[in-house]
């Protein structure tokens, strides 16, 4: 088995479509998926690099595994469902903490999936509606599609929160607009864009990691886990 050069982890609440996104990208199809048990992973050859992409289980039961999957990750894809405001909130409440074990210069992407289910056009449903949970306010629309509950701005705001949480300077990381996506695993909308943008941004990170240090297997002895040291060094 080839050893991967870098790792990307998909995180997010159950049923937001992590597995579907990954299958859409890797296998170009949208099969019915069952709830992921534990996790699964794919190896993707991108240019000369092998990148492993981990699909994690969103179920609460497997939540504890997230930290281990994220350990040393070069990028994390935080996934929510644009029609479930709660799923974005969960990212902040439950999943962001799992990324503490990721590598220090880990990249983040915020992905709102299932845009095919909501009314078309960004910004159409409730500009000020915010991301409060619960049903959408105005139900004047007879279309079977639901008004979108999460707007791209909300994702961008969340992305900025991540940076704050990670104590990262906006200048040092890719812009929010570049790393927030709205996708549909069903139609394939933006799926390639998401993964390929991420691969392109992650390769330099991998190269930097490779240039910097010895392999991670001996890190444990010499270095402290980054998540723990970081707060200490920041005022």
């Amino acid at each position: 088995m080839r050893k991967p050069d870098g790792k990307i982890v998909l995180l997010g609440d159950m049923n937001v479509g992590k597995t579907s996104l990954l299958q859409r990208y890797m296998e170009r199809r949208f099969p019915d998926t069952v709830s992921t048990v534990g996790g699964a992973f794919y190896l993707k050859q991108w240019r000369s690099y092998n990148i492993s992409i981990w699909d994690t289980a969103g179920r609460e039961q497997f939540h504890g595994l997230g930290s281990m999957y994220c350990r040393g990750a070069a990028a994390v894809i935080l996934t929510y469902d644009v029609n479930q405001a709660q799923s974005l909130l969960e990212l902040e409440d439950r999943f962001l903490g799992l990324t503490d074990t990721a590598s220090a210069d880990c990249l983040f992407a915020v992905v709102g999936n299932k845009v095919d289910l909501s009314e078309e056009g960004p910004g159409e449903g409730g500009q000020e509606g915010g991301h409060g949970p619960g049903p959408a306010g105005g139900g004047g629309c007879a279309a079977p599609r639901l008004p979108k509950q999460v707007q791209p701005e909300d994702a961008v705001a969340f992305y900025k929160k991540i940076l704050k949480y990670k104590m990262l300077d906006e200048k040092d990381v890719p812009a929010a607009e570049q790393m927030c996506f709205e996708t549909s695993a069903k139609t394939g909308h933006n799926v390639d864009l998401l993964f390929e943008t991420l691969f392109d941004t992650v390769v330099p990170v991998i190269l930097r990691q490779r240039a910097q240090g010895p392999p991670q297997t001996v890190d444990i002895a010499s270095s402290r886990p980054p998540a723990r040291t970081r707060p200490a060094c920041c005022a």
């Binding site: 790792k7 048990v37 534990g38 996790g39 699964a40 992973f41 981990w54 179920r59 039961q61 497997f62 504890g64 595994l65 930290s67 281990m68 999957y69 350990r71 040393g72 074990t101 991670q216 297997t217 890190d219 444990i220 002895a221 886990p225």
Partner: protein, 885 residues
């Protein structure tokens, strides 16, 4: 989910062999080291068996366990764990909180009584760091709360090397190098016992469920995770394999690459580590021990011991292939790479790839099939042999045994579906085309190319011809029969040609052109045959078909002679033979003679004359049909004229060889017996121009000019005549011709008003060609000077020029003479200025524009005298130059 048979469960120790009829007694732990099988019981006994494996011819393994000894360890508690340290010949037995060292064979405790006390569980380090072969590293969970201890165990003593405290109470441990993998109360961690650094893995509530910590290889552990997961974790705290999904109540796990085996109260389940899929489920009730010992997996209930015997990987793979599970088979095969010697693996893997390729092929998944055939280095004949009749009858190929697939042939594979057959054939075509020039085809290029030829033929594919005209290895007999069957006669000809049977090829093509057999591959086949014969190096073949090509089209057919390389023509084709062959085809003969005379410039009068005669004959034949005398000059006539003018050879022939070859010609053209006859013919036939040319060649210029002037009144032609006739001759010859022309203009004969005008015109335009003095005598007195002004001016100027030139020459000669005399006599002389001072010297330089010529000469003379040159004239020495002429 489709299942695989990866293991069979074989009983090893029956319950009767254990503890007799003790109903209460149960099996607590198992250890297996080589052939030694140790069992620990709830009543503190250790049993030693020798385990013998026998493989019966049918392929299934059986085990017989022969009891060696059993010994009571001296406690009242069950034996919790047994571990053999074979290098020390010791067995470590955990019982009642202490680890006792006993001899592996005698089961006697070591005399020193060395033991580790206060242990609730222990693990041997299979990847020890000490490097001391006479000790083993043992890690124990201490009875002290939250404490781990590391010992070195020697033959008869133990030594503690490390004690660590853990954040929570440890419940299970495994070791690899410096790393301990621990199940704590609420989570799993990796702990480096040399640095004390801990790494969280993931939470797990060990109080609710029994944790499993199992070292599965270098730096990697298998752990029971939440939700019945089998999780993989490395010492770095990451997972490199996706988890497998067990049932919730797994009590034991083991690894037998590439499988993870798990045991719960009802079943033994087998998952592949390669794709995480569950592969097999074996019902097994009340199992409570599952462990692997150097590749041997042992499972036990409280009463009996069984061995899980893995089926040979090859068998598993074959089973997968048999159920068309190509992907899984390949994954398994690749995964097996590290367990099988390289050479053996490669052979096996190649075969699997080939088999997989045929499975894909049978499903018409050609892209995948091709890739598998390619990577599996398939003997391409295996594939060809699926297609009936494609392999040459002479091929020595026999399919590999055991067979790579189950199909007799393509018809069986497609069940007669013609559309599928066509697709398969199309695939084979492209595949063979791709591989025929690669090393895949080495050793059986004949088979490949012959098969390809057959496919192309059948499909009426354009590439058939490309195949045959480039390097190929098509077998003649087989291919010829096939092409003939499919009426590909043109291609068959190419095949014959490629096999150096040009005669057969041409014969076939000729039959196609003649319409005896039908093949419309080429509409220009006749031209093709002509080109072919032209390029043919076989004169016999050319001669054989010369008549045929000439009959079809003399002008094109003659190319077989004219277009071949000159050196070859010279060495192998005698022009006279060709000419006699061409007699029946006048057009061809003309072409050939033209080729000889004009292209090859053969200087043989016979050809020239013959060509001229043929031209003439043709012109004469055309003549009557042309309306009137002034009909346009035909192409042939122009050719004839050109030949008559340019060539000097036909005349010589007439004069010298009249009796010999001319005789033959004369027979063909009886009216031509002499040169004069020829001129008569031409004139009589109304070919005055040609007559004039011939007269010219006979030096009968007067007659020629007379024809041109009087009969044709073509004055430019007459002038032209003077020019070409005198080409390459001395000037007087030309002058003579012009004078003759003038004489014709002015002389007696049918007078016409335009003749004097033509004469004056001639004189004025070509003054230089005449001797003015003679002209003046000829001219009638009545002509005005005005009429001849340009001529006279020119004549006078010429005359003056000639005189001066002569004077200069005389002067120079004299001075030369003087210098010579001075050199000889050595006395002072002064040259007379006479020769050059009186006539205008400028005339020299002016006329010729060559001042230097004269002045150099002048200077030369002065230099000789080393003194002012001529005092008499007061000349200072520079050359007088005059421009006033």
């Amino acid at each position: 989910m489709m299942s695989t048979k990866a293991f069979t469960l074989v009983p090893a120790v029956e319950r009767e062999q254990l503890m007799g009829d003790g109903e209460r007694v149960s099996l607590e732990c198992v250890e297996c080291c080589g052939r030694n099988l140790y069992l620990g019981t709830s009543d503190c006994f250790v049993y030693h068996f020798l385990l013998e494996e026998k493989t019966v011819p049918g392929g299934s393994a059986t085990f017989t366990a022969t009891k060696q000894l059993h010994r009571h360890l001296g406690f009242k508690k069950p034996v919790n764990e047994l571990r053999a340290a074979s290098a020390l010949y010791r067995l470590l037995a955990l019982c009642d909180g202490s680890i006792t060292l006993v001899h592996m064979l005698s089961l006697e405790p070591v005399p020193s009584g060395a033991r580790i006390k206060g242990a609730t569980a222990f693990a041997l380090n299979e990847n020890p760091v000490s490097g001391d072969p006479f000790c083993v590293e043992v890690c124990i969970i201490s009875v002290k709360r939250r404490t781990i201890q590391v010992f070195l165990v020697y033959e008869d003593r133990v030594q503690i090397v490390r004690e660590l405290s853990t954040p929570e109470q440890p419940l299970a441990v495994a070791v690899d190098g410096h790393f301990l993998c621990l199940a704590l109360t609420t989570q799993y961690i990796i702990l480096n016992y040399s640095t004390g650094v801990a790494q969280d893995l993931f939470p797990f509530c060990s109080e609710e469920k029994r944790p499993i910590v199992k070292r599965i290889g270098r730096q990697e552990f298998l752990l029971a995770g939440p939700g019945g997961l089998g999780m993989f974790a490395t010492v770095a705290g990451v997972s490199q394999r996706a988890p497998v999904h067990w049932s919730e109540n797994v009590v034991g796990a083991a690894v037998c690459f590439p499988y993870v085996i798990a045991l719960d109260s009802e079943f033994i389940t087998v998952h592949s580590m390669l794709d995480q899929q569950q592969k097999q489920t074996l019902p097994f009730k009340e199992g409570h021990i599952l462990q692997d010992f150097e590749g041997r997996v042992i499972v036990a209930t409280s009463k009996g011991v069984y061995v899980l015997v893995p089926l040979p990987l090859e068998k598993q793979i074959q089973d997968l292939l048999a159920s068309r599970r190509v992907e899984e088979a390949l994954v398994l095969a690749k995964g097996a790479r590290r367990n099988i010697p390289k050479e053996k693996f490669q052979v096996m893997y190649r075969r699997i790839l080939q088999q997989a390729g045929f499975i894909q092929f049978a499903q018409l998944q050609f892209l995948e099939a091709k890739e598998l055939f390619r990577s599996g280095q398939l003997d391409v004949r295996e594939l060809i042999s699926l297609y009936p009749f494609l392999l040459p009858t002479s091929s020595s190929f026999t399919r590999s045994h055991p067979p790579l697939h189950e199909f007799a042939d393509l018809n069986q594979l497609t069940q007669g579906d013609q559309e599928k057959v066509a697709r398969c054939k199309h695939f084979l075509m492209s595949y063979l085309n791709e591989v025929r020039s690669t090393e895949v085809a080495n050793g059986y290029k004949e088979d490949v190319d012959t098969a390809l030829l057959k496919l192309y033929t059948e499909a009426d594919h354009d590439s058939l011809l490309d195949l045959l005209v480039t390097e190929n290895f098509c077998l003649l007999a087989d291919s010829a029969a096939w092409l003939e069957k499919h009426k590909k006669y043109f291609a068959l000809g190419l095949l014959y040609h490629y096999n150096h049977q040009d005669a057969a090829a041409v014969q076939l093509w000729v039959r196609i052109v003649n319409g005896d057999i039908h093949d419309c591959t080429r509409s220009d086949l006749y031209e093709y045959v002509v080109d072919f014969l032209t390029d043919s190096l076989d004169p016999d073949l050319v001669w054989q078909y010369a008549d045929w090509v000439l009959q079809k089209n003399p002008e094109v057919g003659v190319q077989v002679f004219t277009k071949r390389p000159v050196d070859e023509q010279e060495s192998r084709f005698n022009p006279d033979d060709i000419i006699s062959c061409l007699k029946k085809y006048p057009q061809a003969l003309v072409k050939y003679l033209e080729h000889l005379v004009m292209d090859r410039r053969l200087q043989k009068e016979e050809y020239h004359t013959h060509l001229a005669v043929l031209y003439l004959d043709e012109v004469l034949q055309q003549r009557p049909s042309a309306s009137g005398k002034d009909a346009d000059v035909t192409e042939t006539q122009a050719k004839l004229r050109r030949l008559l003018q340019k060539s000097d050879l036909y005349r010589v022939h007439f004069l010298l060889v009249a009796a010999l070859d001319w005789h033959r010609l004369a027979r063909a053209l009886p009216f031509l017996t002499s040169r004069s006859h020829l001129t008569d013919r031409t004139r009589g036939a109304g070919l005055p121009v040609e007559s004039a040319i011939l007269h010219g060649k006979l030096e009968q210029h007067e007659e020629a000019l007379r024809i041109l002037v009087h009969e044709l009144a073509d004055f430019p032609a007459a002038e032209d005549y003077c020019l070409w006739c005198s080409e390459g001759r001395a000037p007087p010859y030309r002058q003579r011709l012009f004078h003759l022309l003038l004489a014709v203009y002015l002389g007696p004969g049918p007078s016409a008003p335009e003749l004097p005008v033509a004469a004056a015109d001639l004189l004025n335009r070509r003054a230089a060609e005449f001797d003015a003095a003679r002209v003046l005598q000829l001219l009638p007195g009545s002509w005005s000077v005005q009429l001849l002004c340009p001529f006279l001016t020119g004549a006078v100027r010429d005359s003056v020029h000639a005189r001066r030139t002569t004077q200069v020459a005389v002067g120079l000669a004299r001075s030369e003479n003087l210098i010579y005399k001075y050199d000889k006599g050595g006395k002072e002389i002064c040259p007379s200025p006479e020769p050059w001072s009186r006539p205008c010297l400028g005339g020299w330089s002016c006329y010729y524009g060559s001042v230097p010529a004269f002045s150099i000469y002048w200077k030369m003379l002065r230099a000789r005298h080393r003194a002012p040159f001529c005092r008499k004239t007061g000349d200072t020495g520079s050359s007088p130059v005059c421009h006033n002429y």
